[in-house]
Structure formats: C-alpha cells, structure tokens
Assembly symmetry: C2
Homo-oligomer: 375 residues x 2
Amino acid sequence: MDLNAISTPAALVDVRRMQANIRRMQDHMHGLGVALRPHAKTAKCLRVTQLQNDAGAKGITVSTLKEAEQFFAGGIHDITYAVGMAPSKLPRALGLLRRGCTLRILTDSVASARSIAEFCRNSKTIFDVLIEIDTDGHRSGVSPEAGELLDIAAALAAGGANVHGVLTHAGSSYDLSGRAALEALAERERSLCVRAAERLRQAGYACPVVSVGSTPTAVCAKNLADVTEVRAGVYVFFDLVMRSIGVCAVDDIALSVLTTVIGHQKEKGWAIADAGWMAMSRDRGRVRHGADFGYGQICSPDGTPIPGYIVSDANQEHGIISLRGGLDAKIAERFPVGSLLRILPNHACATGAQFPEYHALTGDEAEVWPRFYGW
Amino acid sequence: MDLNAISTPAALVDVRRMQANIRRMQDHMHGLGVALRPHAKTAKCLRVTQLQNDAGAKGITVSTLKEAEQFFAGGIHDITYAVGMAPSKLPRALGLLRRGCTLRILTDSVASARSIAEFCRNSKTIFDVLIEIDTDGHRSGVSPEAGELLDIAAALAAGGANVHGVLTHAGSSYDLSGRAALEALAERERSLCVRAAERLRQAGYACPVVSVGSTPTAVCAKNLADVTEVRAGVYVFFDLVMRSIGVCAVDDIALSVLTTVIGHQKEKGWAIADAGWMAMSRDRGRVRHGADFGYGQICSPDGTPIPGYIVSDANQEHGIISLRGGLDAKIAERFPVGSLLRILPNHACATGAQFPEYHALTGDEAEVWPRFYGW
C-alpha cells in the first residue's frame, strides 16, 4: 500500500486489527451467553457496522437520531438510541418507527416518561422504552433502588408505551485502571441493572431487556448472568485511553492519523506536521491519570510506535512533534520535510469524528469508507 | 424566531453581532491603512466570507487546500494558504492555479523551498510564495535575522518561484491578557515582520507583501506602518477565549450552541443536556489561565448569559450543566426536561467545526448556512 497516494491528514483504519478486535469481543460475549449490540457512535461508518453484524452482533446502539436515520437508510433496522429522549425529538423518532425501524428509546425521569406517554397516546404509537439505570454515579440514570424507577414505568405504561427493559452504562470505567477494579465495576454494572429489572418485574412489567456496557467493563466482565445484551463502542478501534486503562495493547489500536512533516524548529527539537487539533481533536485522553501522550503517539508510516515521540502541542492545522522530556537536536534529520508519520489517537471516538471518511487499509489496498456526521 | 423548530444540538449564528464584529474589524484596519484578509478557517462558510468581502475585506486566508478548493468553487479567487507547504500537496495547489485561482503558498525552510522550486521548474509554473517569519517563538517560521531567511529566498528564486513576501502569526497572543501586553506584541509582530521584508528587499527581492495577524494583535494594533495586510479569523464570531484575553465583550460573541435539557441528577445539582463534547468540541479554552467555563457558558434561549451556570463536564452527546462552585438543588425546576438553552463556546473555531451547518438568526428568520469540512 502506497500511503503517498493519500492526502494528509487522513484517518487510517488497519482492517486486520479492527477485525481482530471485532472477533475477540464477539467471542467473549458469546462465551458469556449475551448478545453484543455495538455502539456505532465510535466509527459512525456503515461498513464497520456491517462487519460487526457479520461477526455475530445483534443490531446497533446510536448516540443521535441522525445516526439512527443514516444507519437505517443503510439497511440496519434494529437500533437502540441510548441517550435520554428529548420530547421535541419524538416526532423524528416516530418517523423512523413508521418507516419500519425497530427503534428503542431511553428515559430516566418521570417528566420525560410522561412526555413520551403523552406522545404515544396522541400519535397512537407504542414506543419500546428502556429505563436508564445509574449504576456508578457517572452521568444519567435513576438509582436501581429508587421509588422513581417504578414511577417512571407507571408513567410510561399510562400512555401505552412499552416498558421494554433497563439500560446502564458504567462510564466511570474510563477513570479506572487494571483488571481487578474493572471486573468489580463490571459486576456492579451487571448486578445493579439486573436488580432494577427484577424490581420492575415484581411490579408486573415484563422488562425483557437488560442492557449493560462500556468497553472496559465489557472486556473485563466474567459473569453476565441475567444480562441480555452488552453495548460497547470504542473496542472496534481501541486507542491510547483504552491502552492506559489496561484493556488493549498498543498493537490492537486500529485507528491512526496519517500526517506529513512540513517544517521544524530545530533548536527547540520540534518537527511541525499537518495534523493539528482539527485532525486529532482536542481530546487529551487520560492526562489527568498521568498518561500524557499530548495529542497522540508518533509511529512510523507502517504503524510502529517510535518511543518517546508525541504530538506535544497542537494548533488548528499544525501538530508539534517532539521528544517527551527531552530535546532531539536532530529531529529535522529524523523526520525530514515531506516525511509521512502515523499518529495513534488518545480517543478514537473524538479523532474519527474529525474526518469525513476513513482510509481502510486491507493489505495492499486502501478503500475509502465514508463516515456519518452531524445531528 | 421559534427556536423550537431547530433540532438540537445546533450551531446558531447571531447575524447582527457577527455583522458588527465584521464592521468593527474592517473599520479598524481601514483606519490603520492596511487590507484585511480574513482567515476563513473559523467559520468555513461561504456566506460568512461573502459578508466579510462585502464589508471591504480583500481575499481570504485558508488553513487547508480543501478550504481553498471549496471557497474557490464558491467564487473566492484570492486565497492565501497560510500553513507550510507539504511537497506532496504541490500538484493539488497547481490544480487551483491552473483553474485561475490567485493562490499564495508558504514556506519556512530551505528544504521546503527547494521542493517548491523544483516543482516550479518541472511544472513550468511560477508559484507566489510567502516566507513565514517567527516573531514570537510560538510555532513555525524563520527568525527575521536568520541567515536562513535569505537562503530560503535564494532557493525559491533558483527554481523560478516568486518571493512574494513575508507572513507571520503572533499566536502567542492567545496566552496574554489585557491591552498593554497585546499592543506590545502587535508592535513586535509588525516590526519583526517588516524587518524580514527589509532584509529581503536589500538582497534584491521585491517582496511586496507583509502579512501579519492574529485576532488579539489585530484588535489591539495601533500602528501597522509598512504592513500590507492583516489576517484574523475568530473575530468574526469571538468566543470565551477572546473574552478572557480581553479583546471582546460577552455580548459580542456571535456563535452559540442550542441545546435541549434531557434529564437531571437533582441531588448533584446537575441538568443533563444534549450538547456534549461532540457539539462543543473538547476545547477547554483558557483553563490554564484560570478562565474555566468548563465546556461553555449557559445562556437563556435568547442568548442572555445565566451567571455561574456552565457545562461542567461532557461526554460524547451529554453535557452536564451545573452551578460553578455550588450546588443548585432546584436545577430541575430552573431547567426542566425539554427546555432550550444556549451555550457560548470556549473556542469558536473548534466548536463550529463540529457542525455541518449554521443556523443563522437574522431577526425573525433562521437561514441554514452550510459549512466546509475535511481535507
């Protein structure tokens, strides 16, 4: 594959690594007896989703209704929209239902449940609704032991909405490191979400779906009894954050940014490249946890990391490459003007989102895979 | 204007404020006797650029060749590509020249100048080339006193490239605060760039262009003698960073993100909204300088700031709104599910880039203005 044919900066996908990531997660979920519903928000790419489904995944998760519309138009019909429903978006969701999409929506409050119920009544529609459960204090969701859980279910049922199940996301996994802590969080995510489902069932709701997931907890889960599906997104590409958390190796990272060196400040030990924050995103990864790769880890054009060299600072279309904790006085000889480099990203979801398409490297070829965008 | 008709999150442009920003900068440059060449990288929007040119601006600056191609297709023919030229991009630049674009390119090294010169010889083309000058140690450029300045000019001329002038960007202005420091930097930017032009002229190069600029130095410049043009980008929208630097008022900020409240964690004092980092970008603004607005300042739907309320944390499609330094136990009553809010961004260039289009508010109407994207 001649990378010189690709205009930089460009988002490269190592398809062999990605397929290995897809296979490993699918096998793990199969072994635990649960369905895998990949979160399409990471890649936002129909081809990636098709490969996940080919490997055995069941449907997808999305983070916006635009994604749902785009993937539905691309032939994916089983979609969970895993962000709390805004009342104003119900007509748009109804449009998907009426076109034949199996769409599940989410709520975590009586106020939102009432608006969904009222909309169901007025539009003579039955939405399948998941109730979001807070299992780690990370973000949204209702406590599994809260009285409000049953109030939400009652509000939904009053309008004819279907209490389809419970859903949680242990996003605090991004602040942990190491298997032991993540195994414990995965079990907490599982047990508290199952507990919420049990309470709903005791109250008379069928609640067939128990949906959990984040990539770190999915990778580390050892027991998913009574869970029906796992959602995970970033595992498809992995990134430096996942490496720092301890759930992948550097060699598993399937997304990188191809860049060209455009200049130097020799006395500072800087090479300047054409991948700035517009290409890498402003995501600084796990810098709060001491894992500081600046805006990314420098690799040779074949993807081999060059230890110590990072994108130490970035402007919109300029990345400053330097040796961490040192000064390479010969950086202009090491990375001459015109040389190609690859950069491993801190956060694949954020970096991928900066690009209209991926260049998918499959052995000797590069295919262009378009990416979805906007709301 | 009924904002409820706009699907959230959405990027709103207050056209009245933007027009005032355009007019103020244009008048200032006119008063100083220099041309204004707006940097289109901020808005990446043909309509915005047309309004800047209607107000008297001369041509545009771009940060990528894709922008140059897109703006050229939209009728803008006078373009400076103000990022150091990668040798591999010369054929693409030549394509623009051959289609009739007046395109200037940039170099700051003998290595790059030689590749441009060789390309000129081989393609029988004369590129107009600007030499980038480092006036503040911020990023790229050659020192105005360096021997290399004349070596670069000689390397260009040897291949038949035209030494069209000098260009500098005092990007360190983003790390300053207050008029006095910025006036001093503006004078440094001017005087060192003029000095570089004088050295080139003494060596026999006509060097007609002396191009300087950053929004903070442009706003604060009091004397631009011997400068021919100023480049500035973010002034068209302004943002919280510019406010913190001291070169605009909050009421000048013309870009905001419209968002819908989707839930709460009442005991934490959180409202959850549908503008996460995908909408706001990961840019944390001047947090290093103590100006911490999280991911943005909350405003009422009409754009009035609500003091103390910020987007204190963000996930991909979730923004956590809270009271800075406090806990609003009644946040669910203040911002109920379904309510609309506006968010002022830290960095307009980064936030705008997350959206496929702007909703431009002109009194009672909202026009959709598409935005450019990719490389």
